[in-house]
């Protein structure tokens, strides 16, 4: 018989939010440690979805429903994890840059970041450069993630790098950039720290930054 944690992972991959929620509760009732449910159930499932998305085996809608299932499961775990003193592996703020309202890619990155156990501050869309930096300072984020889908707004990312320098936190925070018009060349040009083509790789890179 499949273990309950494997069942959580399976159902999460299928986007079955209600079942995931019930199974997480059941696992808690059966005495599993919340951290184990998180790592071997929820994050395990989301990791697989992320990999499959990277390889074009699943598409945006599948990832969105999986992520929705994960957040439903995580809601139940959150208070228990806090009680047990389990800390996130790092903290990231993310947003779509000023002038830009495209947020599906940004949301996917956010979900993948959470899927790797990172705490994420979501600034939403149309976010001014200063807000990214201010948030990183106030909330102690190790990584800033900027998303842009328009060639006309991607330059705001350069402003984020400059604002971080001006605020004197450039050596304390990593700046990641992404979105369809962005590429490695642009990332190098504006002096950001990392570009990745997809959300799963973005989460891997952010984890590496937080651990470093």
């Amino acid at each position: 018989m499949m273990s309950i944690l494997a069942e959580i992972s399976e159902n999460l991959q299928k986007g079955k939010a209600k079942i995931v929620k019930e199974l997480v509760q059941k696992a808690l009732d059966e005495g599993f440690a919340p951290e184990q449910i998180l790592n071997e159930g929820l994050l395990h499932g989301m990791g697989i979805v992320g990999e499959k998305f990277k390889n074009n085996e699943v598409y945006v809608p599948e990832v969105l429903v999986a992520a929705r299932a994960m957040s439903m499961g995580a809601q139940i775990l959150k208070p228990v994890l806090a009680e047990a003193g389990v800390k996130a592996t790092g903290k990231v703020c993310i947003g779509t840059v000023q002038g830009d309202l495209h947020d599906i890619g940004k949301n996917l990155v956010k979900m993948m970041l959470e899927g790797k156990g990172l705490e994420v501050v979501d600034l939403g869309t149309d976010v001014p450069a200063e807000t990214f930096v201010q948030t990183a300072i106030e909330q102690n984020c190790q990584v800033i993630c900027c998303s842009a889908l328009l060639t006309t707004t991607m330059n705001v990312m350069a402003d984020v790098v400059k604002a971080a320098e001006a605020a004197g936190i450039r050596d304390k925070v990593k700046i990641m950039v992404g979105g369809a018009p962005v590429n490695q060349e642009f990332c190098d040009l504006i002096g950001a720290d990392c570009y990745t083509v997809d959300a799963a790789s973005a989460a891997d890179a952010a984890v590496a930054f937080c651990k470093a």
Binding site: Y59, V60, L64, V65, A180, P181, F186
Partner: protein, 357 residues
């Protein structure tokens, strides 16, 4: 027709274009400013057109256009044309989405999704819908002013799943795709069935039976043509595409005689084979997407489209690139090009014809 030398010859070439015949060179739609005439640059944005229309002014934008059209020369297969559309997401507005045109911005916005869930969407097309009436009046007025001197566009629809995406938000539509595929099929069918009705109303309003049809890519057809697209397809798997996108396009193709597919973005390439399998699509306009290299760097894909028996529609090549090209099949290629003067345009046309002689 303003500044078109030989309309009958142009029409003949367009017949050949849709039949994929070789006319001695690739198809080119070249424009250039008329010698000795300068026109002041006018505000041509959707925001202006929409806000004018809301004030009941349907003529200013057309009159501005007429001034410009009189100062623009046409070469090759190019014809003067006016876009009477009032916003990109018109089709969603026909079903009640509220469109906002903020002064100073180029484009208009859907204020907010009409509903979060598909089950709350009440999709009833009503010709008396205020927004529809405005677009209809915009088309009708333009056709009256045109009086055969230019062609009024078949409106740009953003129909099928793009309409639902505008009504719900793309992310909510993704959820519905997974959660309620049957309901989605049902709602999509309503929108797809209305396409015929809506096309025919504009066909009549724009006097298109007399003028022929022309859509935003500037392609012309004596019968009914349209540019078809499904931008939302970039979110979907090939299977989902087969279930929802392909039947929608097929349904739209029932209304029109000739069609170009506006194919947007790398992420939509997973549907390539299914789109190519649509016999009634004549031509594909590949748009690599923001941040990607221009279409000339997608030669393998362009050749694959031609090998599959469809034309390619290209708008981002320079005159030099067009003249130097040896790879594309000229019978299956159309270029849109704007040049700086009559001399440049005539020189270009001459070189192009010589190249294939």
């Amino acid at each position: 027709m303003y500044n078109v030398k030989d309309l009958e010859a142009v029409k003949k070439n367009w017949r050949s274009f849709w039949n994929h015949e070789f006319i001695g060179r690739p198809y080119v739609l070249v424009t250039a400013p008329k010698n000795g005439v300068t026109v002041e640059k006018k505000d041509e944005t959707y925001v202006k057109k929409l806000n004018d229309a809301r004030r009941g002014d349907f003529t200013s934008a057309v009159n501005d256009f007429v001034e410009k059209a009189k100062a623009t020369m046409h070469y090759g297969e190019s014809l003067p044309h006016y876009k009477a559309d009032l916003c990109p997401d018109q089709y969603a507005a026909f079903y009640g989405a509220e469109v906002e045109g903020r002064e100073g911005e180029y484009t208009t916005w859907i204020k907010e999704p009409v509903a979060e869930e598909l089950c709350d969407l009440d999709l009833k097309f009503d010709r008396n819908n205020a927004f529809f009436q405005m677009v209809e009046k915009s088309v009708r007025t333009a056709a009256e002013i045109a009086d055969g001197n230019f062609i009024v566009h078949v409106p740009d629809y953003h129909s099928n799943l793009d309409t639902l995406s505008a009504l719900l938000s793309p992310q909510n539509l993704c959820y519905e795709l997974m959660d309620n595929p049957e309901l989605l099929e049902e709602k999509l069918a309503i929108i797809n069935n209305d396409f015929d009705k809506i096309y025919k109303i504009f066909y009549e309003a724009g006097n298109m039976k007399q003028t022929g049809t022309l859509s935003w890519l500037n392609a012309y057809c004596e019968e009914k043509m349209s540019v078809i697209q499904c931008d939302f397809s970039c979110m979907m798997s090939p299977e989902q595409g087969k279930q929802f996108v392909i039947p929608s396009i097929e349904k739209e193709l029932e209304t029109i005689d000739r069609a170009i597919y506006h194919y947007d973005g790398k992420m939509a390439l997973c549907h390539f084979d299914n789109i190519m399998a649509l016999d009634r699509l004549n031509c594909i306009q590949w748009t690599p997407g923001a941040g990607q290299k221009r279409t000339i760097y997608w030669m393998d894909l362009l050749k694959k489209i031609q090998a599959g028996g469809k034309s390619v529609w290209l708008r981002d090549w320079t005159a030099e690139e067009i003249l130097a090209d040896k790879e594309l099949d000229p019978a299956l290629t159309a270029f849109v090009l704007h040049l700086n003067s009559e001399d440049e345009a005539e020189d270009f046309m001459e070189k192009l014809e010589k190249k294939y002689r």
